[in-house]
Symmetry: C2
Subunit: 438 residues, 2 copies
């Protein structure tokens, strides 16, 4: 088995075309999936629990008499935590502690209420409050990630959300103990073993058993993504996730094995995952390819890695690190490693990325599990306009305005002039009524 990422050179005449072809990934909706999802949503909205039970039996091969039977009790979550090896217990707790402390810092930096008074004594600001109840979707089956439980539930907790409802499909009733243990560590309020569009519908509309939430976060397959997009507006959603991506900017000073393994760590997720290396040093790129060749056979998930790297990977020889940074900005990758001995020289040039990993020791995998920052990140170039999941996703803001009697005298004529200009006379008169010398 061979993993042969495309080898591109920015000084080649066909670079632009090759680059575009490699990058292309279409998030275009599949009309058939859209329709099936719309039907499932409408059915769950109408029939509630009964519909969720039907779809769970059909899609997850899991037949139970009532939806209550699909709720995981707190005792079950704790039992799972007690049952896993102590090394896993400690790792979960250590990771949770670091993720919690990072998100607490985040809340302090950008999630607190603020206000000021202007020269007329009018009060202006924003009050920041947590959402009342959120739903977190945790994928089950072939890619069940306990770390995602921590990454979704902990920021919600830090935000102050009182109720966190987790859903996780358990095909054929097979539960992942580590996922349940993570739910225990993260302090999930209630958990249901349901998944797919039916779980999204249950959370968005509420059923007899599943409480309606205000926002749904967490990744899922194409059905889940389509369902989240559908219910957006009825509830809040975080983002629509595409395949995972890593981009490594290398100046040639990191051991090539480390970089090869970092490329693997993205590729092993999924055949559609994308791993790209940008480097101005051709000999170093050769060394990374050699490391890929040597290390691939040792990997249990070699087949997925080979397909991903060969199908979507690229090793790009750039003219300079500056050019590599510019190309990285065009890609706006989910994960961006600056594998350089002077990462702070390049960081200011990097404008679009979900997370930026600086220096050779900062492997993406440390960030995925326990460095502290969130691993739920914008994919497919959406880092151009969206942000990592954070405390701010579980808060909302209300503007606070208290115009003083004096302020009303100053603002009234301005508002009235503009309101008359817009043909909104009641707006104008509401302002004018507050004038004292009219």
């Amino acid at each position: 088995m061979k993993a042969t990422p495309a080898r591109l050179r920015t000084d080649s005449a066909c670079f632009e075309a090759d680059f575009q072809a490699r990058l292309h990934w279409s998030a275009d909706q599949d009309a058939a999936i859209e329709q099936r999802v719309a039907d499932i949503l409408a059915d769950v909205r109408k029939r509630g629990d009964a519909a969720v039970l039907d779809y769970t039996a059909r899609f997850d091969n899991l037949q139970v008499p009532t939806l209550q039977a699909l709720e995981l009790t707190q005792a079950e979550l704790k039992a799972a935590f007690d049952a896993i090896p102590s090394a896993q217990r400690e790792a979960l707790q250590a990771a949770a502690a670091r993720v919690r402390s990072y998100h607490e810092a985040q809340k302090k930096a950008c999630g607190e209420s603020w206000s000021y008074r202007d020269e007329d004594g009018s009060l202006l600001g924003q009050k920041v409050t947590p959402l009342d109840r959120v739903g977190i979707y945790v994928p089950g089956g072939k890619a069940a990630y306990p770390s995602s439980v921590l990454m979704n539930a902990i920021p919600a907790h830090v935000a102050g959300v009182p109720e966190i409802i987790m859903v996780v499909p358990t095909p054929r009733g097979e539960k992942n103990l580590l996922v349940l243990a993570a739910a225990y560590v993260a302090g999930v309020t209630r958990a249901f073993t349901i998944g797919g569009a039916q779980a999204v519908a249950a959370l968005a509309y509420g059923t007899q058993t599943v409480p309606k939430v205000d926002k749904i976060t967490g990744p899922g397959n194409a059905y889940v993504a389509s369902a989240k997009k559908h219910v957006f507006g009825t509830v809040g959603i975080d983002m629509i996730a595409g395949p995972s991506e890593i981009l490594v900017l290398a100046d040639g000073t990191t051991p090539p094995d480390w970089v090869a393994m970092d490329l693997f760590s993205q590729a092993e997720h999924d055949e559609l995952a994308q791993s790209i290396l940008l480097c101005p040093d051709a000999a170093y790129i050769d060394a990374v390819q050699a490391a890929i060749d040597r290390l691939l056979p040792t990997m249990p998930r070699a087949e997925i890695i080979a397909k991903s790297l060969t199908g979507r990977g690229a090793l790009i020889h750039t003219r300079s690190m500056e050019e590599a940074c510019a190309i990285s900005n065009r890609i706006a990758p989910e994960h961006l490693e600056v594998s350089s001995h002077e990462p702070h020289r390049w960081e200011p040039l990097l404008r679009h990325a979900g997370a930026i990993f600086l220096g050779a020791y900062t492997s993406e995998s440390l960030g995925d599990y326990c460095a502290g920052p969130n691993h739920v990140l914008p994919t497919s170039g959406t880092a151009r306009f969206s942000s990592p999941l954070g405390v701010y996703d579980f808060q909302k803001r209300s503007s606070i305005i208290e115009v003083s009697a004096q302020g009303a005298q100053k603002l009234g004529p301005i508002a009235a002039t503009l309101a008359y200009g817009e043909g909104l006379q009641a707006h104008a008169q509401a302002a004018e009524m507050r004038l004292k010398d009219r």
Copy 2:
């Protein structure tokens, strides 16, 4: 003509049913609109300028040979500013200055990069950067609001967005001078007189003439709302706006005329707009109804006001101000006036609202135009999970992680344990390779 909002009492046996019936507003999608919008989007994506021209001719009765002919030059914007009465010029500038200074305070409070180093010297934080290019949709035709130009463009400017592209339909070519002047004052980069789903498509995908943007903000009709939801993911969007709402919590100390006019100022927007009064004092409610009866005939938009108040308005007699606050939280209104002589007593009880207006002098209309806070606010109960438009909508965050060599020794085993637990061996080995004594 009479405006007779429903009169409800919370101590009545049928309150719950009456309240639900009054509140009900369905944002359910119209399948026919959805399909037409999907077709328009696909067509613009494929044919670019030509498609936009066709739809503009068809829907806006505006026939021009090229899309360039629909671009407003900076000179035209300036000419509009010069042409309007000086009172309007000054009002626009005064409003813009206040909106700018509020959003600058907002950026300082919650829109700056932050970071810290942990005990191992690892750097953790977030870098906040502006979007590169945004599109703002400004409705034209029957409800052209220059204030919306300021409210969308100024936060984008304050965020540091270098390119702000405005679209505004001009049915039959009729331009609203005040909208153009507002675009001049707000510093819009480019402006096109296009609208509807075709304008959203042009901004989302880009055409030969209209540049592709990263995010689209601003309200619009059902076609615009549907188009925005469709392109969400390709670009960012702000929110899907429903009919406007005001809720007044009154303790009976504000002149009843003021409250009546504030209810009018929401009702005059649209027959579907909703104005609600919550008050524990029945005599005061009578006084407000009397003010409504007396003031209505003086209003130029009396017909819309009467339809809105009669169809969707309500005057609700509560047992107490505390109960009024609780009901307000259930509604999660867009605009919430606390018309009380002790507004700070009630404010802490209010958890869900787009904007909270404190005290008798703070009419919603002052906030709409010039108090400073944004007037683009979550509607239809979405204040439960979303926030006013703000500087944060025009920024995005990148996590910053620099794990020190020492930190990698501590984090590596944690990450590896969890990665092996998830069956992701490359993740585990990427962490283990960085361990010094392996």
